[in-house]
């Protein structure tokens, strides 16, 4: 028999007021003894459903107000702090103007209520294959600044995911900042989310595309896929077939086929693997088309 829990398990709660205090507390953290959270839109329901073991201590990161920022300048590009809410990222002027693929991906997540609380960093750390902000971040070449009591390291987002709900982040480590280089000159992007309803839904397939075109030739193309493999992925072979080619229907169709062939979708109650793979082909073509027109 399935038991439905409505209540949270018991845990202690701590809210450090600075990053150094948080890292001090995390020193020696093992086996989820301390679980960190920011928005709580993923951790809280998973704790209620007993999908996560009850931690001894739940660490609320919202006291680290120094990490609540979205900043853009030409030299550094875009920087998103660990506490920046999804709603503040999607509505940020520079994100909308220069990184449309990210504002569209972020906006397609759940509801206003969830986006007001949840963070883009949390969307990465939850590591669900369908995370809507991630195909965009893959296209944009994001790197992740991670900190632990042992020091800092910068991880390419392509190396961050280890499987569904798994990342390479250690138990004592925090993802502090997302770093996104400035969009290449003329770069434009789009995100398309396929789902059975338009809001409050997980992506059956998510496709992000960023293109830069000079004189009718694809100078740079990046394609990120969500929900069609154990982790969000780049469609590298599809990108390669487009780079240096003249913009044209046939070559874009070939890119769609290559992306579909590279995807590794599963059958589940939301869609069959076959349908997902077919839709990768369609949506890669469509996302490139939208990016070209953006």
């Amino acid at each position: 028999m399935v038991t439905f829990y409505r209540r949270l398990p018991r845990f202690d709660y701590v809210k450090p007021e600075s990053l150094s205090e948080a890292l001090g507390l995390l020193k020696g953290n093992k086996n989820g003894g301390i679980r960190v959270y920011a928005g709580g839109t993923d951790v809280i329901p998973r704790l209620k459903a007993r999908l996560l073991p009850a931690p001894e201590v739940l660490m609320d990161l919202k006291g680290l107000t120094e990490l609540n920022y979205v900043e853009y300048d030409k030299k550094q590009g875009l920087r998103i702090g660990a506490l920046a809410a999804i709603s503040s990222v999607e509505s940020h002027g520079a994100v909308q103007a220069r990184f449309a693929v990210l504002s569209q991906g972020s906006h397609s997540i759940a509801s206003t209520q969830v986006r007001n609380r949840g963070t883009v960093v949390g969307n990465i750390c939850s590591a669900v294959p369908s995370a809507d902000a991630v195909p965009a971040l893959l296209c944009l070449g994001a790197t992740l600044l991670c900190v632990s009591p042992r020091g800092e390291r910068i991880i390419d987002i392509e190396d961050f995911f280890a499987g569904p709900r798994k990342t390479i982040l250690a138990d004592d480590e925090l993802l502090k900042e997302i770093r996104i280089p400035d969009m290449p000159k003329g770069g434009r992007g789009a995100y398309i989310k396929l789902s059975t309803r338009s809001r409050m839904e997980l992506a059956l397939v998510g496709v992000g595309a960023v293109v830069a075109v000079t004189d009718g030739v694809f100078r740079d193309v990046r394609i990120g896929l969500g929900a069609v493999a154990p982790t969000p992925m780049r469609a590298s072979r599809a990108e390669e077939v487009l780079r240096g080619e003249k913009v044209g229907e046939q070559v874009i169709a070939e890119a769609g086929r290559l992306a579909a062939a590279a995807s590794l979708p599963i059958d589940d109650h939301r869609a069959s693997a076959e349908y997902r793979r077919l839709m990768v082909e369609v949506l890669v073509k469509r996302a490139i088309g939208q990016a070209l027109k953006a």
């Binding site: 409505r6 949270l8 709660y13 839109t41 809280i44 329901p45 759940a110 206003t112 409050m200």
Partner: protein, 159 residues
């Protein structure tokens, strides 16, 4: 696991409480403070019937810990009317029959309030976007959208 003392503003009035760390804001509102307007539907942030306004933004109170209410300003459906005098959005829901069973209505109205604060004259598409996180299983939404449109026409929906 010690209890936490918190202070916050609830529907315009200062409020103090002592809560367990694992208690949600919704549980505190309903069971300790007897504000049963916010409802528990799914308990996991899908349905929006627990929606309250915290710091000027809508949140699912089933996903917020009670301790996180510390130093916050919280508004629930109970804080909208002025005594017997209904808030313009509430009045519009009554006049336009924007509810059937009524379970989603408190959350729906809180989302409508923030929508009308930001967008006083929303289009139908903007209304749909504004209430996308609030599920209604009775009305098919038509009457709810008409109610919010009617509230917007009073020009006081965001008040």
């Amino acid at each position: 696991m010690e209890m936490r003392a918190i202070k916050f503003t609830l529907n315009g009035k200062p409020c103090e409480a002592v809560v367990k760390p694992w208690r949600t804001l919704l549980e505190m509102l309903r069971e300790d403070l007897y504000l049963t307007g916010p409802k528990e539907g799914c308990g996991e942030g899908e349905c929006g019937s627990c929606t309250v306004i915290m710091g000027g933004k809508t949140v699912n109170s089933c996903l917020v810990l009670a301790v996180e209410a510390d130093n916050q300003e919280i508004l629930t459906i109970e804080g909208l009317s002025d005594g017997e005098h209904l808030h313009p959005i509430q009045a519009a829901f009554v006049n336009k029959s924007g509810m059937q069973c009524g379970f989603c209505t408190p959350g729906m109205i809180m989302s409508a309030k923030v929508l009308l604060e930001k967008t006083p004259r929303p289009s139908e598409a903007e209304i749909k976007e504004g209430i996308a996180g609030n599920f209604c299983r009775c009305t098919g939404y038509t009457k709810i959208i008409e109610s919010i449109q009617a509230a917007s026409e009073t020009g006081k929906g965001g008040k």
